[in-house]
Subunit: 355 residues, 2 copies
Amino acid sequence: MQNPSPVESVHIPFPRMRSVLERIFERNGTSPGVAAILADNCASAQRDGAMSHGLFRIPGYVSTLKSGWVDGKAVPVVEDKAPGFIAVDAANGFAQPAFFAARDAFLAKVRANGIALMAIRRSHHFAALWPDVEPLAREGLVALTVVNSMACVVPSGGHTALFGTNPIAFAAPRENGEPVVFDLATSAIAHGDIQIAARAGHDVPQGYGVDRHGEHTTKPREILEGGALLPFGGEHGMHKGSALSMMVELLAAALTGGNFSFEFDWSGHPGAQTPYTGQLIIAIDPRLTSGQGFAQRCETLVAAMAGAGQKRQPGSRRHEARARSLEHGVPVEAERWRELLAMAGLDHEESGTTA
Amino acid sequence: MQNPSPVESVHIPFPRMRSVLERIFERNGTSPGVAAILADNCASAQRDGAMSHGLFRIPGYVSTLKSGWVDGKAVPVVEDKAPGFIAVDAANGFAQPAFFAARDAFLAKVRANGIALMAIRRSHHFAALWPDVEPLAREGLVALTVVNSMACVVPSGGHTALFGTNPIAFAAPRENGEPVVFDLATSAIAHGDIQIAARAGHDVPQGYGVDRHGEHTTKPREILEGGALLPFGGEHGMHKGSALSMMVELLAAALTGGNFSFEFDWSGHPGAQTPYTGQLIIAIDPRLTSGQGFAQRCETLVAAMAGAGQKRQPGSRRHEARARSLEHGVPVEAERWRELLAMAGLDHEESGTTA
């Protein structure tokens, strides 16, 4: 989603944005290490134009930390289960620090075995999913990850929310260009985008969600307040989106030892917003490919997609936004930036491009 | 798809159907081993009600074998690339015999490493995909497979067919019930189902395909004759189906060393129908799961889906058809069965339930 009103925006240098967010996380009870990882993740989403997972998420992080629902100082426990299987107990902390705690061991397993998986459980994932796989593609690996979230999607043909928005993210290296990356919710729309539509007062298309009575609606507030999202796939393909969402539950929760999207109970933690589930990451070392190199073949496919008339390859919009942000600063609404500076205890400082 | 006219059907015992198909394959130039594998695969699809990949496919197999496009006597070469990575050169033969040639070594790798992949290249896959993964779930494994096919799907936003129907199949074990299995084309409809609709003279819904001018059409013949299919996902989610189809190309072709769906040229082999591409299979041993057993967790999710109002879990329709077929015989149109008996050189024999 593009920033809706560029005239009211300021442009903040990426390192400055990251350090302000880091300060907010630390002031709200995370360890310095967790703060650094989450700040980098969130500022990167904003930098890359993924506004629904950018600074928009900070109040949710803070509210969740204040509620006691998540442990911002959790120390992940890495378990070596088999030559290709690494498990991480996130210990009720965020998923990203758990991933980083096991990252080097995971990469060694992928290179030694050709393929490996990392199964993270007891984790909270409140961010975009592509930042977890794009760096693996930069290491020359093909990577796939799934995370389940919180019950807000009705299974195909059903009447009650059960699945999360359950995204699937994939990244693959190219020989010359930026990695091919996609990150798609298996719901008709991401939960963050529904929240943004509700805030902006925009309707959403038919087929995105149902109201509290299970009837289709185009009003984001009716979807958010007692209603539910629908799986992606459209009228005739919704069973496919639903099947993929089921697969995500099985891989991200059943296989890791984490909660299904419908299992955790945060009612004792008012203000909690982060789903307490699991995440699976699979990576493959394509150096073992027979024939031409994988990254070269990836270039061939990307060129063919352009030749077939596809305007953008998955990930290219983010790479373009990233280049603009790194040159001109990361865009953010001026009012939101002032709020963030206040949350960081920096409200006496100037804001804007030189901040 | 259900058999459209049950009154004209005969019901053939499964072992009899399989042996008639085996004879047809052998009479058309396959080795006995290849004949046995393909006959079992094709009869199983018919038995399970997957008519678009059942006996309907036999004339295509025969026509392809006669054209010299595929080697029905190919001997696959299995290559041990790494502890978790096994490659198979199908040597211009069918994918299923290549899979079987490496199956035991693959299972040993999965159990030793927790995860492994099998990368099949130079292979022809002309069958349903779920028969490749369901048996792995019966071994207690979680399995995922992708195969690319032939250029007949326009990428999202494009104008020229590039991707295959590029299905994704997944299977997972349950503690008590039949495995959870799905097999979904990343196109809006499977190519076999478009052929069946064309044969039956039925229109298909808007959004399934375009005609030779790139315009949306509901006429299956316009889609088949110079037109193309669209990715699944519906009006607002087609970019997601397209991204998944791209992922299938990268995993099934780039990673294996096989052809992309748009690369092979069968123009020198009139009658050829089998795509000459690659296939990737990933399997995980869920015994390493932390917490409750995977198969038990899978039961929990299936029960929750039923509780949320989902009428059928993925795969249940096939399991029901299988049970009926094994009790009453596998249904097939009487005229088609007579044709098959003739192709097997058995036209002097009686047909029907006692055949």
